[in-house]
Structures are given as C-alpha cells and as structure tokens.
C-alpha cells in the first residue's frame, strides 16, 4: 500500500520542514490557489475585512481585492447555491460557512444542487465548488455550532468529503479540493486551528484524495480516527504502548473517496479495529467502516469492530460538558482495554 506511507502519499516536493499552524496552512492554500487560477474566488460572511470569524482568510482581501474575496450577507442558500451557479458560469468558488452546522441552512443547495446537478443534467456540467466547513467542538459554541456532520455528506452520493487532521493535510487536501472538478465538502476542525506541524512550502504540494495516512504504526490494534480524534488516538496509543499494546493509528483524511484498502490491510495485520469519531456514534461513519471491514476481512477479525463516537445527544454548550460528550484519550484507552480483552 504505497498510500500508507506518508511521504509516498504526498505528491509534490516536500521541500521544507517548516512548522506552520493548521489555520495558517489553510490560509496559504487559499492564497496559492487564488494566485494559481484566476477562476478561483472566495465568498462567505465576514471573510474580507475581518478575515473570517476564525481568521482563516486574513490578508486575502488585501492581496486579491473585493472582487475575489467577497463578503456576503447572511444568506447561506446564496453562498452555496450561488457558488453552484458561479461554477456553472465557469468559475471555481471556494466558499465558507461560518460553522459546519450551517450546512443545514443550505442543505438543499449542498445535498441536492451541488451533489446532483451534474448527474440530473446528464453530465453536461461540472461543479468545482469547495465548501469550507469549520467543524467540531471548540469550547462552548453550543448545539448548533459544534457538530461533526461529515457522515451525512458521505451518505449522499455526489459529494467528496475531506477531514484534515494536520496542518500539512489541511493545506494539501484543500489544494486538491480546489483543483478537483467535483464539489468538495471540506470539514476543518475548529479545535485544530492552532495546532502546528510541518508543512511543505512548495506551491505544488498537494495531498491526493482517497489516500489514508498512518499517523502511528503498530502491530496489535488498528485505530481509525479523523480530525481532532487523530491526536487523541495517538495520545492513547502512546499510553497503551507503555502497557505493551502497540496501536496503529490510521487517518483516512478523506471519507469520499475512502481508502478502505489501507484500513483493511492494517486490520489483516492487527486483527482488531476500533473507529473513533467525534460525530454522534449512531449511524456515524464508524458504522460504515465497521461494516466494510467485516465484509472484507471477516475472518481476519479476532473481535468485533469497536466504535467510540460522540454521545447521541445534541451538544451541550458548556465547555466542560461538551468535552464529556465526545471521546477523550481516556475513553479510547478504556475501549482499547475492553477490545483487547474480547
């Protein structure tokens, strides 16, 4: 599986070990793509003079001007539907919803127009639209500003889905997303914006869709995790290593397309799988991965696929309570013990 090795899964020259933040990496990706392709433009609320509620578009108005960095009114159906229309008119829109949860205020535009327009019209059009979706819990934003809704996007055919967990992936996947002819829902994790890591400097650096990354190699148990959960899974893995349980952590990086081969290959080695996600556990993407792995590697599994997911509740607003509603490193360690004991 060449896609399993980080260097091999990253195209473009890794020309630097420069350390950069996740938010900064996204900002760079936007700037580079705006420079590269005249058709690219940005649209969303407060992305101009403010630089975005989370600061992701800082400096872009100054470099690219008000035509290409556009502040909209509070009109999510226009932001997404207008992006679809602009794509039909030959542009490559990269739009931001202030919170991923707001995709519900533009759901017809996302799950119908973006996902189906090409198909319904016999393949005559392409819709190269990226919808940036700040996702996940971040410290008291509440039930309608904290969700992880990527599974819904995975269930509705026609949308590609990225869930970057590192600064390098945030940059490389976003650049792939902008260059992709299909609509992409790009779930950035708000809790990762300040996380730093090595990010190649070359403007040619991209991370292809559909290639998983091994965040930590191991022999005894495979953990698949995305977004904020990758770090928690690695932390749990380090603690488990001290007990002699050698965990392999795999980050699929995109859910559509999904690199199931890499996951299956890992499970064939470790014989045990746990999926960890922040999204509500029931009918979350962990279920899909569990279902696919037992379909493809039933006899390789020594124990059921375990799922550690967000509680099946709306997210409480209090920052302490909200943490109790999503998996912690402790939860992962506990689950690993249980799974090892099966």
């Amino acid at each position: 599986m060449t896609t399993m090795q980080q260097p091999a899964s990253v195209t473009g020259a890794v020309d630097s070990e420069r350390i950069t933040g996740y938010a900064r990496a996204i900002n760079e990706a936007l700037a580079e793509e705006l420079r590269r392709d005249e058709r690219v433009f940005l649209m969303g609320q407060d992305i101009g003079r403010l630089g975005g509620v989370f600061g992701l578009t800082k400096g872009l108005l100054e470099e690219f001007g008000t035509e290409r960095v556009r502040d909209t009114a509070i009109n999510e159906t226009f932001i997404v539907g207008g992006a679809a229309g602009a794509a039909l008119g030959g542009m490559v829109p990269v739009v931001e919803l202030q919170f991923a949860d707001f995709l519900f205020t533009a759901a017809d535009e996302i799950f119908h127009k973006l996902a189906k327009w090409r198909y319904m019209h016999g393949g005559q059009f392409t819709l190269p639209v990226v919808v940036r979706l700040p996702s996940g819990v971040v410290g008291g934003a509440g039930a309608e500003h904290s969700q992880s809704l990527e599974t819904i996007a995975m269930h509705v055919p026609g949308l590609k889905v990225a869930v970057p967990a590192t600064p390098a992936d945030a940059k490389g996947l976003l650049k792939s997303a902008v260059r992709d002819p299909d609509p992409v829902l790009f779930f950035e994790h708000k809790g990762l914006y300040r996380v730093k890591g090595p990010v190649p400097e070359s403007p040619d650096f991209v991370v292809p869709f559909g290639s998983a990354r091994v965040a930590r190699p191991g022999q005894d148990l495979t953990i698949v995790a995305t977004g904020l959960m990758v770090g928690r899974a690695v932390e749990a893995a380090e603690r488990l290593a001290a007990e002699g349980i050698d965990v392999e952590v795999i980050d699929p990086r995109t859910l559509v397309p999904l690199d199931i081969e890499s996951i299956v290959a890992s499970v064939e080695k470790t014989h045990r799988l746990m999926v960890v996600h922040e999204a509500a556990r029931t009918a979350g993407f962990g279920a899909e991965i569990a279902a696919q792995v037992q379909e493809r590697a039933f006899f390789a599994l020594d124990a059921p696929v375990w799922r550690v997911g967000g509680s099946d509740i709306p997210l409480p607003q209090d920052p302490t309570l909200e943490q109790a509603a999503i998996p912690s490193a402790d939860d992962i360690v506990t689950a690993a013990h249980a799974l090892a004991a099966v």
Binding site: F41, E67, R68, T72, A73, N75, E76, T77, F78, V80, G81, G82, A83, A84, G85, A86, A87, L88, G89, G90, M91, P93, D108, E109, H112, K113, W117, R118, Y119, M120, H121, G122, G123, Q124, F125, T126, P128, P157, G158, P181, D182
Partner: protein, 306 residues
C-alpha cells in the same frame, strides 16, 4: 415571425406530448405549458445566444426557444438515450445544453434563484457580458431562496433578470390566497429593483419588457423583476383533474391565445407554411425520439463524478 414560428412549434410539441401522455402513459409528471408558450418564447427572444437560462417546470418552450432541438427534449421526456440528460433528468424534465446556455432546473422550486444569481456573479467576475434569465412560478416566489438571492443580486448589481410566470395557481393553491399583495412585482421595491408587470399572453410585450431588463442588467445596473400575467390552462400535471378548481379552462379556449395573436400579424399563406413546417418538424422529432433506443442501464453509474 421567428417568435410566431417558435410559439407554434412549442404548441404542437405540447399537444404531441399530451397525446402521448394520455395514450401511452408516462414516467413521472408532465407539467404542461400550453397557453404559456408566448411569454416563454417572447422573453427568451430578448436573450443573446450566449446568455444563460434557468427555466421553470412548465413545459419545454424555454429550452426550445433558447435554441435546443426538439429531439433531445423529447428524448428526455421519453427516457431515450438521445435525451439531453440520457434518462437521468427526464420525466419532470431537467433538459440541459451547455452549448445553448440552458443550465437546467432544480427539482426543488426556488433553487434556481440562488443558482441564477451565482451564474450572474460569474459573468460579472469574468466580464463576459452575459445575462442570466431565471424563470419561476408565482408559487415558487414564496421560497426563501428568492429573498436571499434577490437581496444579494441587488446589492451586487448582478446581471440577472427574474421572470415570474404568474399563472394564478401553484398546484391547487390560488395566487390570491398565497400572497398578501396583489402582484409578485409588488415585492420588487423591497429589493430596490424595478418590478414590471406585463401581459403574459402578449409575446411581443414580454419580449420588450425582457429586453429592457436585459439591457439594464448588461449595463451593470442590476436585476429586474418581471411578472408576466398568464393563466394555467391545464391541470398542474397532465392527469390532474383539478377537483380544487371551479373555473377550469376548456382546452380550446386559451384566453388571448398567443398563437392566434401572433398569427394574426402574419399573412395567411405564410402562416400556413410555418404551421405545416412546424407540425412536420414536431412529428418527425417526436418519432425520432420515440424510435431511439433506451439508454443502457449502465448510464446510471456515469456522471456522478466528473
């Protein structure tokens, strides 16, 4: 003359489709546009070939008027491989032609508002001088996407023209029971744009009003809302017996029939030639579509991704 030719061609096509639906049945719903052809053809006559069109669900007049051939249109309706959507958007019809700037239609009413504004934004950004025309019904005017699109289009002075076909009905709902104001155009001032009311049975008047709006849009002065007053002649879909409607229209009594109104302007003999040609064209196109093969099932897996 060209407008008459198109209107009468669309009329024959409407009648041919009705025939087919009544005798052979039909997959999905067919929303007949009979009686509204004049305004559809008239408005589109004001467009340039490169302008963009988002049409509504009432008939196929829009797509034909914008330059598409009848064969792919009938092909869509009949679920044939020659259809512009190859069976994927037939039935309730999502005709499309990138070449003719026919950008399609959403299945949910009102989705065209935001897409149309977006395409107009693309034209503004590219400076390509194109205008986008968006058709919609009086019923669709209730959707919130109208508000979001209209407000943003006005603020940005996007080159888009909104054409409301007010036929008095949204399925079983009378317009006057659904609107607090007598006209859809009364809502234009909320968006700081002109609201124009025009007789939808008068194809030339519609053309002129649309031409003005398109010129305004092309000059960079922003959107216009045109309300063409018309009447839904048949049921909401072919087969709808309209139990909710007391004042059902007999087929032959299209008030101010645009075909007759335009026809009256043309010398008899010439008109008969046009009619004959149009009828023949429609029959041949329909026969060609009917004779075309159905798409292979494998098409369903194509076009999900680019």
């Amino acid at each position: 003359m060209e407008i008459y030719r198109k209107v009468v061609t669309v009329r024959f096509a409407e009648l041919r489709i009705r025939d087919h639906v009544e005798t052979e049945g039909f997959g999905g719903f067919w929303h007949p546009g009979i009686g509204q052809e004049g305004l559809q053809v008239g408005a589109i006559a004001a467009m340039r070939p490169e302008d963009y069109l988002y049409y509504a669900h009432r008939g196929l007049g829009y797509a034909y008027a914008k330059g598409m051939d009848m064969v792919p249109l009938f092909g869509d309706l009949l679920g044939r491989a020659v259809g512009s959507t190859r069976g994927k958007g037939g039935g309730t019809v999502h005709f499309a032609s990138a070449e003719h700037g026919v950008l399609g239609q959403g299945g949910t009413l009102g989705s065209n508002f935001v897409l149309g504004a977006g395409t107009a934004l693309a034209s503004q950004l590219r400076g390509d001088g194109r205008v986008t025309v968006v058709f919609f019904g009086d019923g669709a005017s209730g959707r919130g996407t109208w508000h979001e699109a209209a407000l943003q289009a006005s603020v940005w002075k996007l080159p888009v023209v909104w054409v409301c076909e007010n036929n008095g009905w949204a399925l079983s709902a009378r317009f006057e029971d659904q609107s607090p104001t007598p006209h859809v155009a009364d809502r234009a001032s909320a968006y700081g744009m002109p609201g124009v009311i025009v007789d939808g049975q008068d194809a030339l008047a519609v053309r002129d009003a649309t031409a003005d709006a398109i010129e305004r849009a092309r000059r960079g002065e922003g959107p216009t809302l045109i309300e063409a007053k018309t009447l839904r002649i048949r049921g909401h879909y072919e087969g709808d017996r309209q139990p909710y409607r007391e004042d059902q229209v007999k087929d032959d009594e299209i008030p101010n029939d645009p075909v007759h109104r335009l026809g009256a302007l043309i010398p008899d003999e010439q008109r008969r030639t046009i009619d004959g040609d149009a009828r023949r064209y429609v029959e041949e196109a329909f026969a060609a579509a009917l004779a075309a093969p159905r798409p292979d099932t494998s098409v369903i897996y194509e076009d999900v991704w680019a």
